[in-house]
Symmetry: C2
Subunit: 186 residues, 2 copies
């Protein structure tokens, strides 16, 4: 299934740090590249990088500029194609606004968390996506801050492997989620 009615948001604020404090995490270049490439593979509509810090948004623009228009665009057109999905926004609300504008319908945020008891199965999430645009919300650092879970938005079931170890990189979690939602497993 093509996921063109799905957008992904990678949130750098509000997220938790290792001590459980709410912080703004720093942009990671490789998160942007990896998740853009995976999003492009699965036909995701848009990939929002969310940070309230103006300098971080400028840094993102410089990265994107290199690959979209600069030397990188000619060197690696596949990367250009993936990074064309990326938009920097100052807040989750701004991501939702932009995604609504692009879809022409109100999108529903779907939260993700490794250590919460999320109830929305991947199968049901795929069904919801046939009905309305969704925004899949991923946290950096030690995960999305609790305040985001007080909006009544659905929370995806956590990815379970073989045991209790649940420290997937957000890049890997994004890949697994998009494959479960839109991949053609055989």
């Amino acid at each position: 299934m093509k996921l063109h009615r799905l957008a992904v948001a990678l949130v750098h604020h509000p997220v938790l740090d290792r001590r459980g404090d709410v912080v703004t995490s720093a942009l990671t270049n490789l998160d942007v590249h990896d998740i853009a490439r995976t999003a492009r593979t699965y036909g995701v509509g848009r990939f929002y990088v969310v940070t309230p810090l103006a300098e971080q948004l400028q840094l993102l623009d410089r990265i994107l500029g290199h690959w979209r228009d600069g030397h990188g665009a000619g060197y690696n057109p596949d990367r250009k194609e993936a990074l064309s999905l990326v938009a920097g926004v100052p807040s989750l609300a701004a991501a939702l606004d932009d995604w609504q504008r692009l879809c022409g319908a109100e999108p529903l945020p779907v939260l993700t968390a490794a250590s919460r008891d999320g109830r929305l199965t991947f199968r049901d999430c795929a069904r919801m996506l046939a009905q309305q645009p969704l925004l899949l919300v991923l946290g950096t650092g030690w995960g999305l801050a609790p305040e985001l879970f007080q909006n009544g938005w659905p929370v995806l079931t956590p990815i379970r492997g073989a045991g209790s170890y649940n420290h997937l990189p957000v890049r890997a979690a994004a890949a697994i989620m998009l494959d479960r939602l839109g991949g053609q497993s055989g």
Copy 2:
């Protein structure tokens, strides 16, 4: 399903570069971390980093030492646990030898390729794994060199998303493969 009879090999030689030449690619720190964390999540038995270059194996040892025994071990015990799966080896043959020694049975290599017509489905691969130990072989750079495909080893079906774009990071491909083989999708 716990993948304790599966090992992963990340090959830096022989692989292709962008022009299709056979080269030795450089170790990428984040490949080691990401694939180790994903492997640990799914209960994979061992993660071999394959490079014939002695200095690259020494670099790997320094990285692993930091997280296993050095400052990183106390700072991030979850990372230590993941990186304890990693072993640097000079060749795929050395990886197979070590995995056979650990399993007490001859492992079969399973190759992966984004742009070859691999026929082994993930479902059949999971069935094979119930019968014998396997070594899942991933290429860096532009993928595993053709010579590896002349051994008669099975090749996994490529990961398909929504279209023809097939430029997943190897870190993302590894995550998707392990989830398809051992994840509890819902």
